[in-house]
Structure formats: structure tokens, C-alpha cells
């Protein structure tokens, strides 16, 4: 039998050309590796998001996604949490880790349906006094940190965290929103954020008079934010769609299933 120890595929063995030609081949192979590597390249500095959300986060230069080093604010009367979870789905699916701080009420089944990879998710519950240090420590190593503030962050803390995120190339997602007007409210970021996503309309469908069940929500998201590279615009989405995922709105005709209510028969 062959001694497999001696059968190695290597440039040195199989390439008969000497010296300079081999070096140029090695250079070309290395350039190829750099081009085909799927992790984020330093030049682009963008974390990938779900395809449906790319229309929310296009930069002028054509790359769509969460720009590294930025602070993203998510707000709205209803739908902010789903949108924040959907933003975290793209990065976790492509290998980044996400940390969630100060959001004790997150529904993880919904997160899984939206596409978040729960094997790369960590939840941290610091006390209010430890929160700035903890978020700063998390920004060092995690690509995405999603924070909900129940006490309003001071301007100094906000500036420090934004600077930390910019320096480390992490994305800080600040989840605001009124959660349908119940429960405790989340405070907003004191200064403007680079990207501001607000859910301004949210219409659920699927419920009839006692029949059916919630199927999908048609939401209109307004995209704003400072920085000039984001044009203010409005995008319509299904947030979530019938299977729990974010999707584009299909044409009206026939999309809503007609639900026949049940009738009592004795």
C-alpha cells in the first residue's frame, strides 16, 4: 500500500518552474484567497444583513448592511423589537457574535424564526451601575451589541460608547420603542444616531371576529439618521411574515387568505 505520508500536494513538489515564477504563482493564489474569503473585508467595513433589510441600510457606495463602528437606533410604537432582532439575524448567520444587554423581555422563539443564530447569542444582565463598563467590554469583542436602556444613558456615556464602537468596528443597536404602550418604556439615545429606523405604521392581518390567528404584519419603516449617507425614505416590509421571517410585501390581490369564520352547530 502507499505510504500516504509521502503524498503531499505542495507547490514545491509539483511545480517544476523555478524561483520567480513560483513566487508569482504564490502571490496570485494569495490574492485569490483574499478575494474569496467571505468574512468582512476591512475596506468595506459592513456587516451583512438579511436580504430584505438591505434596502433599509444601503450606503451610497453600494454596500448594504450594518456599517461597522456605527450606532443604529430602532424605535416605533410597535415593531421595534422585531426589527432589532431582524437586524441581528444577518450578522449571526455569517459568523459574528451578538450580545443582548438590558432586554429581559426578548422572545427567543421569535428571534429563531427571524433567522438569528442562537448559538452565537449571549444575554448579559448587568446592574445599572455596571452597565457602561459591561457594554464597553462587550463592544471590544462582539460585532453586534444590542442594548435597551431602561434608565436614560447620559450624554457622556453615550459619547464614550459610540467612540468605543467606532474604534472597535462593532455595531451598537439601541432598541427604543413603546412596545405597544404597555410595560416599561425604553429610553432613547440622547444624541442622534448614524442610522435611525422607526416603525411608523404597523397593520396586523389574519384575525377575524374570533377566528384565524395573527399571520403577518405590514409595517412601514422610516429610515433616517445623520451622517448624510442615509437618505430619508420609507420602506414597506412584512415584519414578520407568515413563517416568522422578514419579507417583502407581495401584491395585495389574493395575498390575504379569506378566512371563513366557524359556526356553532349545536
Amino acid at each position: 500500500m502507499f505510504d500516504t505520508g509521502r503524498v503531499t500536494a505542495s507547490i514545491a513538489e509539483h511545480d517544476p518552474a523555478p524561483g520567480a515564477d513560483r513566487r508569482s504563482r504564490v502571490e496570485r493564489l494569495r490574492a485569490l484567497v483574499d478575494r474569496t474569503r467571505p468574512v468582512t473585508l476591512a475596506e468595506q467595513r459592513v456587516l451583512p444583513v438579511l436580504p430584505t433589510l438591505e434596502q433599509l441600510l444601503t450606503t451610497g457606495a453600494g454596500a448594504a448592511g450594518l456599517r461597522r463602528g456605527s450606532v443604529v437606533g430602532v424605535a416605533g410604537y410597535s415593531g421595534a423589537t422585531t426589527l432589532a432582532l431582524a437586524l441581528a439575524a444577518g450578522p449571526t448567520r455569517s459568523g459574528s457574535w451578538a450580545a443582548f444587554v438590558g432586554l429581559p423581555e426578548l422572545g427567543w422563539a421569535a428571534a429563531e424564526e427571524l433567522g438569528v443564530d442562537l448559538s452565537r447569542v449571549v444575554v448579559v444582565r448587568p446592574t445599572a451601575s455596571a452597565r457602561p463598563t459591561v457594554v464597553a467590554a462587550l463592544l471590544d469583542a462582539f460585532d453586534v451589541v444590542v442594548v435597551g436602556f431602561d434608565g436614560a444613558p447620559g450624554a457622556v456615556e453615550a459619547r464614550r460608547l459610540a467612540a468605543r464602537a467606532r474604534e472597535r468596528g462593532s455595531v451598537l443597536v439601541v432598541v427604543g420603542g413603546r412596545i405597544g404602550g404597555v410595560g416599561r418604556s425604553r429610553r432613547a439615545w440622547p444624541t442622534g444616531t448614524e442610522v435611525e429606523l422607526t416603525v411608523i405604521e404597523s397593520t396586523w392581518s389574519g384575525l377575524e371576529e374570533g377566528a384565524g390567528h395573527l399571520r403577518q404584519r405590514r409595517a412601514v419603516v422610516e429610515v433616517g439618521g445623520r451622517g448624510g449617507w442615509q437618505r430619508a425614505r420609507r420602506v414597506e416590509l412584512l415584519l414578520p411574515g407568515p413563517a416568522g421571517q422578514v419579507s417583502v410585501v407581495e401584491e395585495r390581490s389574493g395575498a390575504d387568505a379569506v378566512v371563513t369564520p366557524l359556526r356553532r352547530v349545536g
Binding site: G95, V124, V134
Partner: protein, 554 residues
């Protein structure tokens, strides 16, 4: 240097047990552990006596021994302290090969002839190392078990040295006669063939665990297999281990003599007294050496680092690595060497003045077959970074405040996943070993989509119909009247724009204490004073006559 023709090189290896704890410098009787990413990597004899072994999590170690002292791993400190051992060996042989702080090896052909045989040499080395350790790192007592062994081949010698330290407490050197290496190794468990590399090399770890699961628990049984079978089943790595198990260790066949002109030198002017200045220059040197090698398609597995001071003192050391040495690895080893020399060497009187010249030469090269981190290197590297940061965060907030979601299955919204402490989950760096979501039907569960907000403490609510009477759900799951208005926790009344249900769940009807009957409704509540199309969807649950707001589809 190429030894594949002449058989394995007789080598003397020195192995110091739990070197990280020795480098910390506490008395050996005290329980001390060294941690990396919240796992124990080394434990002092005092800690081992209490049952603390490497591989445990820090909380388990503290449970077994509450008075244990924990230290974070510092490889620089270990390298600096190991200079004591290496300088003790230098009077026996000129070229000492260091694999990592704690393990080093010396080819014995010249030295043992000079000192009167393998056994005499090993005895003298052991004596000397123990004296030096006791004098410099142990306050008069030898701080750890030191194993010295001579065998055929550097890896076999390292395994034998480990065996000598573990088996005998390192009191006597273990000299394996030429050709008897296989016999020594045959009784050992098969994991020892990895020789300490298993932590760094997952393929090796995998292979030894496969061997154990196949029933080949000892090295002897593995060695008894036929080489063609091992080659067919396990490939190159298996062949390498099989040769080692049979005592026929050879250098990998693609190892070559490095080209003679591949040597980089730098003059340090003015001479560097402190490590960081010299290390800065060393990093530039390492980068240029690596670029030279890479340009020729080679990678270095053993590098010779030479440093000279202005007074003429010279230190030369071989650093060996199992995989290929990258530029950062070479720079790190130069830093270790200089650190050890400038601090410990100076105290031993062997180094005067500053470093004035640095030279790096590759001693053994292999063809460069690929990237080191794994081809799509990003994923595991991000995981390692995350785990290290979480160790820091756990120190800040406590282990109970760092959690991960784990699937457990259930009917109520929010029951399907629970949060468990991060360090109770196996394989925290992504994937493998955690319960997966299954598609079993759970009668009474609300259909997808799931609510994004689940209130940990459900909020009390009131739900009334047209006439203002409380809405109830009868025994057969029929609702008393359609709900029209709802208010949560005594707030403003909102209109119910749409509703569906009830979903009835009766849990544990056989258990009088845990018996629960709940009925759930999905409702869309209008925002008071807003456009009729804007509404928030919620899950309301009725239990024992009281309505609760359980979840919100935020």
C-alpha cells in the same frame, strides 16, 4: 540534519509538570491554579491533591477547593521563568530546542559521549535542573515534578519525560534503551501520543478520541495495527502517530534544509537594555523572514534565534513548533527569549549590557501548504474572542448574569427557550451539543409567528365585552362574549380591534398542585387617539378568573 534515512535521533527531553503554576512563584504546597478563558490549564500539587485538574471550569475548581488561588495565564511570565531551566541545560549541550515554556529537548549524540553515556547525562541534567529550580523558583524546595528522559526521537522522549514525571515524581531519569521505545509506550493510554499538542490541534484531539472509542485504549494496541490499515482509515496524521507508537519516529518527509542565504540580521543601535525595544526590532525581523520564506513557498517549523550583547555575550536558541511558525509566532518567541535572557540571565550573571545584534535563521522548513487559521478563518476566531470577553464580563457581573438561550420546548409563549448560564453549556464556541428545536406538535401552542416580547412577569389586565362585563372562557373552550375593550395594569382603556382564540391549555391534570388551566387570546389593541390602522398585537391569558398580558408582538 535530515534523519529519515538513519532512524530517529536519540534525544533527551525535559518536561516540567504544570509549568504555568511554577512560573507564578508560590510554594508548591499551596493550591494554585492558572486560568485561561475561565478554564484551568495548570494546577499546583497542592491543588491536585484536592482534586483540581486541568480542564475544569473555574467554578468547579473552586467548588472542589475553596481556598484555591487563581491566576490568569501569562505566557511571557512563563517564558521568562523557563530561562532558568534552559540556562541550566546550556552547559550540557550547545543547542537546546524549546517547544514551549515547560518543555525542551536536546539531541544527545555529542553530550552523552562527553558525559559518559545516556544515563549519566540524564542523571546530571536532572540534578542540575532540580537544583536551579529550587534555588530560583522554589525557595529551596523543588516546585514541581521534573521529568527527564532519553528515547528515540524528540516526541517519544517528550512522552517518556512526561511519564517519568508523573510516574515517579521525577526522582529518577528515565532512559529508554535504543529500540525499546515502543515497549515503553505500549502501556500508556493512547491520548498521551498527542503529547500536549491536543489542546492546540483539534484534528489530533479528534483522532485520539476516535481511537479510544474504537477500543484502542493503549498505545500498544494501536501500534499492533497494520500500517496499510492505519493509512487507509486515518490518513497522514494517523501514520505519523502510528510511527511514533512503534518507536520509529521520523521527521516529516517534507522537511528540508533551508536555503543557506535565508538569514536575517539586525543591529540594535544603541544597544537595547529593555525587552520592548528589542522586541520591536525583532518583530520587524520576523516579518521580513516570514515574507522571504513565504515568497519561496516555505514555512518554518524550527527557527534559530541568536542575540549578542555589546560585551560579547551570546545566546542562541532553537524554537520548535509543531505547525508552521507564522510571523507573529516567531516574534513572540524572540520576545520570550530576550525577556528570559535580559531578566533572568542578568540575575544569573550571564548577560551584561544591552542587546546589540539579533539574528534569525530558519533551521527547518516545510513547504507552506495553507493558511493557519482554517480556510474560512473568521468564524472560530470570532468565537474565541467572544469567549475571552465573556470571561471578563463574568468577572464584572457574576456568572449568573451571562446567559445563553437554550431550547426546551413548551406551549406558553416564552416557554420554548430558557436562559441558562453561559458556562453550563457545552462547546460554547458555536454549535454542537446543544438541544435543537424540534418540530413536534405542541397542542395548545400559539401558531407562528411568535411574539417578540415576552413579559417575564405577566401584567394584570382587564378584558370586558360590550356591556362592560368581564369576558370569560367556559369549560369547553367557548368564550362568553367577544372582547371589546381592554386595559393593562389599570391604565387607559383601549379598543380591541380584532381578536382570535381562545387557545385552551390544560397542563398536568393528574397533578393536584401543578394543575393549570389557561385560555389564551390574540388581540390587536388600538392605540388610544391614533390612526385606526395602527395597532399593537398582544397575547392575553385567562387563568383562575384573572386576565394577564403575557406577550406582545412588538
Amino acid at each position: 540534519m535530515p534523519s529519515s534515512a538513519s532512524g530517529p535521533v536519540r534525544t533527551l527531553a525535559v518536561w516540567c509538570a504544570d509549568w504555568p503554576t511554577v512560573a507564578v512563584g508560590r510554594p508548591p504546597g499551596k493550591p494554585v491554579v492558572v486560568l485561561q478563558a475561565n478554564r484551568v490549564v495548570a494546577a499546583s500539587p497542592g491543588a491536585r491533591a484536592q482534586g483540581v485538574t486541568p480542564g475544569l471550569r473555574v467554578r468547579e475548581a473552586q467548588a472542589r477547593c475553596p481556598s484555591v488561588e487563581t491566576h490568569e495565564r501569562d505566557v511571557e511570565r512563563e517564558a521568562r521563568a523557563f530561562e532558568v531551566v534552559v540556562s541550566a541545560l546550556e552547559q550540557f549541550a550547545p543547542r537546546i530546542e524549546v517547544a514551549e515554556p515547560g518543555r525542551c529537548a536536546v539531541p544527545t549524540r555529542g553530550p552523552s559521549r562527553y558525559h559518559g553515556g545516556d544515563r549519566a547525562l540524564a542523571g546530571k541534567v536532572l540534578e542540575r535542573v532540580r537544583t536551579e529550580l529550587a534555588a530560583h523558583l522554589g525557595d529551596g524546595r523543588v516546585p514541581c515534578a521534573v521529568g527527564v528522559a532519553v528515547a528515540d526521537g524528540p516526541r517519544a522522549a517528550a512522552i517518556a519525560a512526561e511519564e517519568a514525571a508523573l510516574h515517579d515524581g521525577g526522582r529518577r531519569p528515565l532512559v529508554v534503551p535504543r529500540g525499546a521505545t515502543a515497549e515503553l509506550l505500549s502501556g500508556l493510554p493512547v491520548e498521551r501520543l498527542a503529547g500536549g499538542r491536543a489542546a492546540a490541534d483539534p484534528a489530533l484531539d479528534e483522532l485520539t478520541s476516535v481511537l479510544r472509542r474504537l477500543g484502542l485504549r493503549t498505545v500498544g494496541r494501536f501500534a499492533a495495527l497494520g500500517r496499510p490499515d492505519v493509512a487507509a482509515r486515518f490518513g497522514t496524521l494517523g501514520i505519523e502517530l502510528h510511527r511514533l507508537a512503534r518507536g520509529e519516529e521520523v521527521e516529516p518527509p517534507d522537511v528540508a534544509e533551508p536555503p543557506a542565504d535565508l538569514r536575517v540580521t539586525a543591529a540594535v543601535d544603541p544597544p537595547a537594555d529593555r525587552v520592548d525595544r528589542a522586541a520591536f526590532i525583532a518583530k520587524a525581523l520576523a516579518d521580513s523572514l516570514h515574507a522571504e520564506l513565504a515568497g519561496r513557498g516555505l514555512a518554518c517549523t524550527r527557527v534559530r534565534v541568536t542575540a549578542e550583547t555589546e560585551a560579547g555575550d551570546r545566546i542562541e536558541r532553537l524554537w520548535r513548533h509543531e505547525g508552521a511558525l507564522g510571523a507573529a509566532d516567531i516574534a513572540q518567541r524572540v520576545r520570550w527569549q530576550l525577556d528570559g535572557w535580559l531578566s533572568t540571565g542578568r540575575s544569573l550573571g550571564r548577560c551584561t549590557g544591552g542587546v546589540s545584534r539579533l539574528e534569525l535563521a530558519p533551521d527547518q522548513v516545510v513547504a507552506d501548504t495553507g493558511l493557519q487559521l482554517g480556510f474560512w478563518g473568521g468564524a472560530s476566531e470570532a468565537g474565541e474572542r467572544a469567549v475571552r470577553a465573556l470571561a471578563r464580563v463574568q468577572a464584572l457581573v457574576g456568572a449568573e448574569a451571562v446567559l445563553v438561550p437554550e431550547w426546551q420546548g413548551g406551549r406558553a409563549p416564552g416557554e420554548q427557550y430558557r436562559l441558562v448560564p453561559f458556562d453550563t453549556v457545552p462547546h460554547p464556541t458555536g454549535g454542537g451539543g446543544r438541544p435543537r428545536r424540534d418540530e413536534a406538535p405542541w397542542p395548545g401552542r400559539l401558531p407562528t409567528p411568535a411574539p417578540a416580547v415576552v413579559w417575564a412577569a405577566p401584567l394584570p389586565a382587564e378584558v370586558v365585552d360590550e356591556e362592560g362585563r368581564r369576558v370569560g372562557v367556559g369549560g369547553r373552550g367557548t368564550i362568553s362574549a367577544p372582547p371589546r375593550r381592554c386595559r393593562v395594569r389599570g391604565g387607559e382603556w383601549s379598543t380591541v380591534r380584532a381578536w382570535a382564540g381562545p387557545w385552551c391549555v390544560e397542563e398536568r391534570w393528574w397533578d393536584p398542585i401543578a394543575h393549570r388551566r389557561r385560555a389564551r387570546l390574540q388581540v390587536v389593541l388600538g392605540e388610544p387617539g391614533a390612526h385606526p390602522s395602527t395597532g399593537a398585537a398582544h397575547v392575553l391569558a385567562l387563568e383562575a378568573g384573572q386576565w394577564w398580558l403575557e406577550a406582545t408582538y412588538d
